[in-house]
């Protein structure tokens, strides 16, 4: 079973993403800030992280750069989860080593999954 870690501090946003991904049979883990997200990634080695870019301790981009600088995450997929305008989200997430981004809030479950699932194939 593929493992997905959601790092998101707003409970409603995290819960919606969790429900959608769990309904597709993924094992879903959650963390609400960058430091606990980093520790959870070390402990559980997820296949993909859905990463909020605005976190209360360090921002999501900084967490992405820690993960990319750490050993053992070469195959990890990181997807930014953000309300930023698409052009900014694309440029920032790409430069920080993310594999894609999804817009917040989730409006279409179909579109959300279409951005996540190909990365887990």
């Amino acid at each position: 079973m593929k493992k997905i870690l959601i790092v998101e501090d707003v409970p409603d946003n995290a819960e919606l993403a969790r429900k959608i991904l769990a309904s597709r049979g993924y094992e879903v883990l959650q963390a609400e800030n960058a430091e606990s997200g980093f520790q959870s990634a070390l402990d559980h080695r997820p296949d993909l992280i859905l990463l909020d870019l605005g976190l209360p301790d360090h921002d999501g981009l900084t967490l992405a750069s820690w993960l990319r600088a750490s050993d053992g995450f070469e195959n990890l997929r990181i997807v930014a989860y953000t309300a930023w305008p698409p052009d900014t989200a694309r440029e920032m997430s790409t430069s920080y080593g993310c594999d894609g981004f999804v817009a917040k809030p989730i409006i279409s479950v179909v579109e959300f999954l279409a951005q996540i699932e190909p990365l887990l194939a």
Binding site: P56, D57, L61, T62, S65, R68
Partner: protein, 293 residues
């Protein structure tokens, strides 16, 4: 359809709330922002300390249902700073934001301060209009820049480089750098412990310096000056030395003036624009701001 009567808003000094409560209300007001910038209690406490926020003069808006908004006031000598203003979604357009800003202006007035400054995220039209309505005027645009540590390693430009200790760095930033946004004023750097710097002399005689904060994962709070030479070249030289020394650190810079002549050097070094803010002032800037020491 009958109109709901507006609830009576009471403004309470923020000092009457715990840091945890202030963090909670602040985060609730930002939850639907494009760039929400949430904080935990530790970060908010650091923010209050670093930026001279006076909680006695900062305000929380309450109505019969509880906390509705928050706004904080930074105070430095003869100037004040409006910051962390936010109103909980669903409560907006009911006069809470106006009441909070008016309340802060009254507080700064009680201190004898008639110059107030702030920054507002570009395209946050309701906040921008509110500040215009209350007498603020635009001063310029500010950039928030990022540089990921993933770009290829940088070779430092050939230069005579000397590392500066904290006391030397703090001495340098007392130089006249013109009017700076609140976050980049000298007082801010004096509150930060992990400050150091770099002085460079290039082969053509150009000279300048860079002061920065280095944390475990992050470089930030750059203050710099080109004494002689091309600022863009000097910026590239500073950055090539800094990123060569700290290749694995993320970098975030706040409130760089869009007209800063050093910017081409930042862009060449891989810095990208995250978003923009508009700087606004109210009143005549005091000499202490224009000739920042």
């Amino acid at each position: 359809m009958t109109q709901q009567p507006q609830a009576v808003i009471e403004l309470i000094p923020a000092s009457q709330f715990s840091i945890g409560e202030l963090t909670s209300i602040y985060n609730q007001t930002r939850v639907d922002y494009m760039v929400p910038m949430p904080m935990n209690a530790e970060r908010l406490a650091e923010y209050i300390e670093t930026y001279d926020v006076d909680l006695e003069r900062s305000l929380v808006a309450m109505d019969g249902s509880g906390m509705r908004g928050v706004a904080m006031l930074g105070v430095r000598a003869d100037r004040a700073w409006v910051t962390r203003l936010g109103v909980i979604p669903g409560t907006r357009k009911g006069g809470v934001g106006t009441a909070l800003v008016r309340g802060l202006l009254e507080q700064s007035g009680l201190l004898g301060i008639d110059f107030n400054m702030l920054e507002v995220i570009k395209n946050n039209t309701p906040a921008h209009q509110l500040f215009f309505k209350l007498g603020f005027y635009e001063v310029g645009e500010l950039l928030i820049l990022r540089r990921a540590p993933l770009v290829p390693p940088i070779e430092p430009m050939i230069a005579d480089a000397r590392r500066l200790e904290r006391y030397e760095a703090l001495d340098l930033i007392g130089d006249d750098r013109g009017a700076q946004p609140w976050t980049n004023q000298s007082e801010t750097l004096h509150h930060v412990t992990d400050i150091s710097g770099l002085r460079l002399t290039l082969g053509d005689g150009s000279t300048g310096w860079l002061v920065y904060q280095r944390q475990k994962f992050l470089l930030s709070r750059f203050i710099y000056k080109t004494d002689t030479g091309d600022p863009a070249v000097m910026a590239y030289a500073f950055l090539s030395h800094l990123h060569h020394q700290y290749p694995r650190l993320d970098t975030r810079l706040e409130n760089i003036h869009v007209s800063d002549p050093h910017l081409p050097g930042f862009r060449k070094m891989g810095y990208i624009e995250s978003f923009r803010r508009i700087e606004m002032w109210r009143g005549e800037p005091p000499a202490s701001l224009v000739h920042s020491k």
